[in-house]
Amino acid sequence: MSYNYVVTAQKPTAVNACVTGHFTSAEDLNLLIAKNTRLEIYVVTAEGLRPVKEVGLYGKIAVMELFRPKVCVRTHPEELSLKQASSVRKYRLGLTRVGDLLLITGAALLTRCALNSQVIDVQFLYGCQAPTVCFIYQDPQGRHVKTYEVSLREKEFNKGPWKQENVEAEASMVIPVPEPFGGAIIIGQESITYHNGDKYLAIAPPTIKQSTIVCHNRVDPNGSRYLLGDMEGRLFMLLLEKEELMDGAVVLKDLHVELLGETSIAECLTYLDNGVVFVGSRLGDSQLVKLNVDSNDQGSYVAVMETFTNLGPIVDMCVVDLERQGQGQLVTCSGAFKEGSLRIIRNGIGIHEHASIDLPGIKGAVKFLGGASSRSTASVLELSRLVKHTAVTTHTHTTEPYCTVVVFTCVCVQITSVSVRLVTQDSKALVSEWKEPQGKNISVASCNSTQVVLAVGRVLYYLQILTGELKQISSTEMEHEVACLDITPLGESAGESSICAVGLWTDISARLLKLPCFSPLHKEMLGGEIIPRSILMTTFEGSHYLLCALGDGALFYFGLDIQTGVLSERKKVTLGTQPTVLRTFRSLSTSNVFACSDRPTVIYSSNHKLVFSNVNLKEVNYMCPLNSEGYPDSLALANNSTLTIGTIDEIQKLHIRTTVAEKEVKGAVYSMVEFNGKLLASINSTVRLYEWTAEKELRTECNHYNNIMALYLKTKGDFILVGDLMRSVLLLAYKPMEGSFEEIARDFNPNWMSAVEILDDDNFLGAENAFNLFVCQKDSAATTDEERQHLQEVGLFHLGEFVNVFSHGSLVLQNLGESSTPTQGSVLFGTVNGMIGLVTSLSESWYSLLLDLQNRLNKVIKSVGKIEHSLYPSAAVRDVNSHSRTLSHTHTHTHTLTLTHSARKGAWTLLVSHCDVEAATDDLLWRRGLSTLLHHSF
């Protein structure tokens, strides 16, 4: 039996819907973006969009509308459709409220109230006595517009105030117009018309005929301006010109359409404020655009302010290792129409190299805290000179500096193995010097802008940096030799730390001591035999942490109470295989930690959880942040031979780089693959193998005809997996001797396939029309022919995403040290909404553990909108009958990341109480394994 785990690498990026309003509070202007099963909430600020929260739902967001209870009547269609199950066609709708937000999840809202016709669009009208809906419907004669009043008492539709038969044949949208105009605008392929029962006004501007208008948004509350977006990505403004009559009534005089410019192909539009519009796109990148009063040189009034990457629709993809670092990169065919592009995706963080110097024998990197002016213009040359200069200074003392040079108000502290020196910055004059009384060598040291703590063997000294003087305050002797220490000031201590973190040899412990008295606060035994090499206190998202890296690349991290010095929530992760050095830096005004080792890693916090992210560099021994005019927000990274200066990409994203592309395919060849040096192609219902003749021509070697439509092909050795349009998957074997195909086995479930993949010799992965993944298994040991011919469906998982492509490979570095990833193999998949996920195999015990965990988590996690997790898979259209479900769910596992500690503990306790003793006692294994899994999921 095969057990598989499905996990998300990149959440859906395609935007389905967006809405603006005051949601998080009455003062905040919010932008809410729906990305299939996820909802992102932003605050609109003067600087741009600031993310507030991201929530996942157990359902697809189909429609999203902001409303304030009792104020707005737009809630009614949903209520009606739920209540009137008998007269309104029933669709699986989940109605849910998040604060003031009403969400409708499920299939399209399509009513069949008293009409044997298709409803194209429905909206509530403004300014009517009773709630009134206006809708476009289609019958055999054409499209018509009708209004119905909603009788809340009888829960019925009654005839409305007006109707308009035979509107444009392609009329697709109703826009309700607020008072004073009232009525509705009907958008068609060629014309835009206004109706309100009395008045009828139509325009047919030639510009809109070119493409189809797909979305609209009201700009002004009085409804005098609307934004329209079409399939070519053009943005229009629809203006309603008003006229005041003699009796004071305001009526519509005319309609105007103006082309504003080009954006991404919009799926939804929302006007934020001050001429800023969010363009949500499903086929390309979403954008934040500014509408200018004057046009630019190209005649466009639109200026793009910000672009939000969207990978969807991922039509095809493959894994390559371009940089030959053992780390796969994914190349996707993303976007559609004019938005088509090839994108390269890599796990981890990209460093853009700006400059590098070959400088053999670098022992450390120094930090220049350039004051307001002093070294802000440091160039590469200057910098290298400085580096050399430091080396020179060092030379005179015949000792190497301990790489800690702190510059503050024109004075710097230089710590070498023999002394701590206070030096003025400009003249390089020595102001003050401290030496160990017996002249012993300093082994390790740490300093901040006011304090220095250093260790000489087992003795710790605490110095204060005063103006023009270094003053020893206290000293103490530890039980063992000091391996590393840190006095980074945390909290609001204003540059002074009251705690000193120390890592010791021999007993391999991390300790926290109070400054200045060195009284012990906390002792944490790390276990094992590898000494701590770097210790660091840091603050992520308001939480304090202690990080301690060992000589073998392992990292312990703890929650830290800076008042009491107590450590909690011990966790361990493996970053590399070599001694690791930890350094802090800031990027986009958040603090991050750079772990220098053979596998450089950036540590940052997301949703109050630490994330460990690979960097696209081979080896980094030392790193220090650099912020100068020439290199703003940069990092200086050094290994044995090179110093590199680079900037870091925006963290917390798969690294995505866009190149170009366009491709053209002709004919009804649905799939082609290379197969044993020959060409395998599927042509309608035929699977055909071509071989090359001596004349370099393709000649048919053999055919297989028993399909309805062979859409997808995958091969492994002599085996071919065929994905049929509607008959699931078929396994063929190629017989090289006979030059023929043999049908080995078939899955007889009527699955409408969208992608297939061979997991291993016996297991086959498929994705189908109803957003499910399934695994089929070949039963070679079966006793009867008939059983052997059947691929057994052994696993089913509702993904909620339409998978277009599977590809073997992984974005994570393989063989990450001693980390015990409890999974085997990995298949990546790409979806229509730009999601990238991973399917990997687990052992049975892991599977049952995770499944158990998932079930228990579901009891702890409150789902947004109270849509039950169990409902989610059943929302699939497909009839599923008692299949064993051996694909574990990802939805809840990702939730563990965002759980509070207590909730996590609760889930864990629940799990422990029901697990085997064996599994429960192996707590560490569980945590490490899970964190590895989650690490994968990053």
């Binding site: 395609a14 008998s86 007269s87 066609r89 399209a108 069949r112 044997n116 055999p140 499903r282 086929l283 969807g312 629709p313 039509v315 559609a336 002709k666 004919g667 009804a668 060849v669 649905y670 060409l679 042509i683 309608n684 219902s685 035929t686 055909r688 071509y690 021509e697 393709l698 000649r699 048919t700 055919n703 005809y705 028993n706 309805i708 439509m709 859409l711 349009l725 509607m726 008959r727 043999e742 049908e743 007889f748 009527p750 409408w752 969208s754 029309n769 109803a770 957003f771 022919d785 008939e786 011919q789 339409f802 277009n804 229509v832 909404n833 259209v877 009839d879 009958n881």
Partner: protein, 400 residues
Amino acid sequence: MLSFLYARQSGLDDPVRLRRAESTRRVLSLELNHNRDVDRIHGNGINTLDIEVIDGRYMLSGGSDGVIVIYDLENNSKKPQYTCKAICTVGRSSRHVHKFSVETVQWYPHDTGMFVSSSFDKTLKVWDTETLKPAEEFQFDGNVYCHHMSPIARKHSLVAVGTKDPKEQLCDLKSGSRIHILQGHRGEILSVRWSPRYEHILATASTDSRVRVWDVRRASGSLFTLDQHNGDKSKASSEAVNTAHNGRVNGLCFTADGLHLLTTGTDDRMRLWNSATGENTLVNYGKVVNESRKGLRFTVSRGCSPEFVFVPCGSSVAVYGLHSGELITMLRGHYNNVDCCEFHPDYQELYSGGKDCNVLAWVPVLRQPDIEDDETNSKRGEAQATINPAFEDAWSSDED
């Protein structure tokens, strides 16, 4: 097709659209196909067919000679051509066989381990599929014309039985007893169907020209009676008030979504009703010849857009647009009257049984497989050596 596939993979269309469009195309291309045969077992007319919904693999048939056959519809031949094998039979030699004509057979909707048959021998038998022996037998006073089990019911396991007696009977499979009678009809009950939408809603059709819709939880009579004139009394003669047809009503069929109900009558009409209100939708199917003295087993498509109705009509099966009423095609192939037909929703195939003792499989025409004629290909290759045959094939298949 390519445009549908492209729209599906770029997310322009809901994936269901491709599925509906392709299903519709397939239904429109149904034909008697040389690739598919069904074993000929029955020595007499075939009255009833049923395909189970769990795997969509096994089909039951019941014949006028009392014989019941189970077919395996799955293609295990590894070739496109195959014959649906009869895997077991309750033949004349079995001591459990129905004495007279089997009028209805139906799989137990939740498990293929059981099926139910009813016959003119005044019995309804519940069979164990493994042993082919009745696990339960219900005796009635008159011929059993029809029975039906709810395809969706989870709260009850009632079999609704229509017999010569105007009282509709409900048999409970759990207790093995006849637990309920629904009174209202004044003639024989020729057809009975549970709603596929609400598990307590039942429709019955009778020779008294009426169709009644019941909620079996209610003791007091039917919910409503279908009225062909929608309550307009001026159009109906006094005795025809509240009638569904001007003749015997012998066929009933809910649409797959349960929103509509189709009825057929010996007035040669077929009518489509709103199943929630009982309103006649007045879709005009024209003359649907119907001379059956017994129940007529017709069916609707599932998963297409628009949907279709398949009605036995003389020796052919007529295909109508469900909502348009348009006669799309007549499937001709039987040598005698067709009595029943059954749609396979997974593969858009239709099976029909008739008095000619045949079960015919109507299969969608495949998009032309790219079959090469080696000889012509090689000749062409010689003639046009400059053209790469690979491109040539791709082009020709596209045009096909």
